[in-house]
Symmetry: C2
């Protein structure tokens, strides 16, 4: 995702919500600072920052947290854990997590499966200029139409059991799978879509062309 | 992925290989034709083409195949099946499968898990301007350094058992998981990296910044 679009998305998020805290992850902090946006908290190992960038970070950000290289948490996971657990945020919006290197995108997409983050995956939303991704644990769910997005997709990121989709353009009767499948190009026909499953984690992707 | 970069990648592939057949998938056929590249075979349901585009397709492509909306195969899977089974291609390079709508990217990435495609997943490579993705079934594998790419990542797209990585910057001793994980930012330290696993499908992503 390109910097300017990140900030457009960020301003959209900030316009909707009152108390927004900004957590910058690793080199993302430099992008934020270069665009005049000072992170409340910086998280990362900062390996990819040069000396001038490190100085810029330390001068400008009050709360700089050095990620201890920990086997169980990547930088992105550490950023999410800071938002979810330290700040106890009910709604964490991740921007700049997609695009470019696909291994990085997959790290970000799949990090909600981490055992510590998974229980609160429904508090995480990832947004870029064409996509909005939400995450769901087993249960019965109802999601609302978002008028900016035409398409709706469901991806079981893990093995899934008894996955059903109702009230959408394409229904899913009762789907179980031991591997991930992307059900794309679905659409809202009413103002909400209902779905349920008994095992696994499902990503819901709203998108537009 | 942007059209011009698609063609740069395509020309790179064509320069390396003698007999290249081009299979256009759905609206991709129109992009190909507009860039003066005539597909040998077109595959799709062509729902997203307008009347002029359909006429353009039928006028220019000799072998236009209408995908019967089939529950088990998406358009992309049909394109892959045509290459792998009808043409019996040993090396199928997919371009234009990434970027933009993430649901589409995930359809393309995960389609190698389809039960009919999975046995020949090692014949599929997906390429864009920053990434090259290969797929592996259980076994012992050795992959070569590609000098254009600095980084190497491994993603078990499915549950995986006894996954081990040797001879790389970061080793993996013996990893089993019932959900996907992206091991990113690894690197070659020798000219090859060896890895093995006994269950699952692993994507290997070569990438550059």
């Amino acid at each position: 995702m390109w910097p300017q679009q990140i900030f457009t998305e960020f301003n959209r998020v900030r316009a909707r919500q009152k108390a927004v805290k900004v957590i910058g992850v690793d080199h993302g902090n430099i992008s934020l600072l270069k665009h005049g946006l000072i992170p409340d908290i910086a998280v990362g190992d900062y390996d990819s920052l040069n000396a001038a960038e490190r100085a810029m970070l330390l001068e400008n950000v009050q709360d700089v947290r050095f990620a201890v290289p920990e086997k169980d948490f990547t930088d992105s996971e550490m950023g999410l854990a800071t938002a979810l657990f330290d700040l106890n945020s009910k709604d964490v919006v991740v921007i700049g997590a997609t695009g470019g290197r696909l291994d990085h995108f997959l790290v970000n997409l799949l990090c909600v499966l981490n055992e510590r983050l998974r229980p609160v995956a429904d508090r995480i939303t990832m947004v870029d200029q064409q996509n909005l991704i939400r995450f769901f644990n087993p249960g019965k769910w109802s999601i609302d139409r978002l008028k900016e997005y035409k398409y709706l997709a469901f991806v079981n990121l893990t093995p899934v059991a008894h996955f059903q989709i109702a009230d959408a353009k394409y229904q899913l009767a009762d789907f179980s799978s031991n591997y991930p499948v992307s059900f794309a190009s679905n659409e809202f026909v009413k103002d909400e879509v209902n779905f349920s499953f008994t095992k696994g984690v499902v990503a819901v992707i709203y998108s537009r062309d």
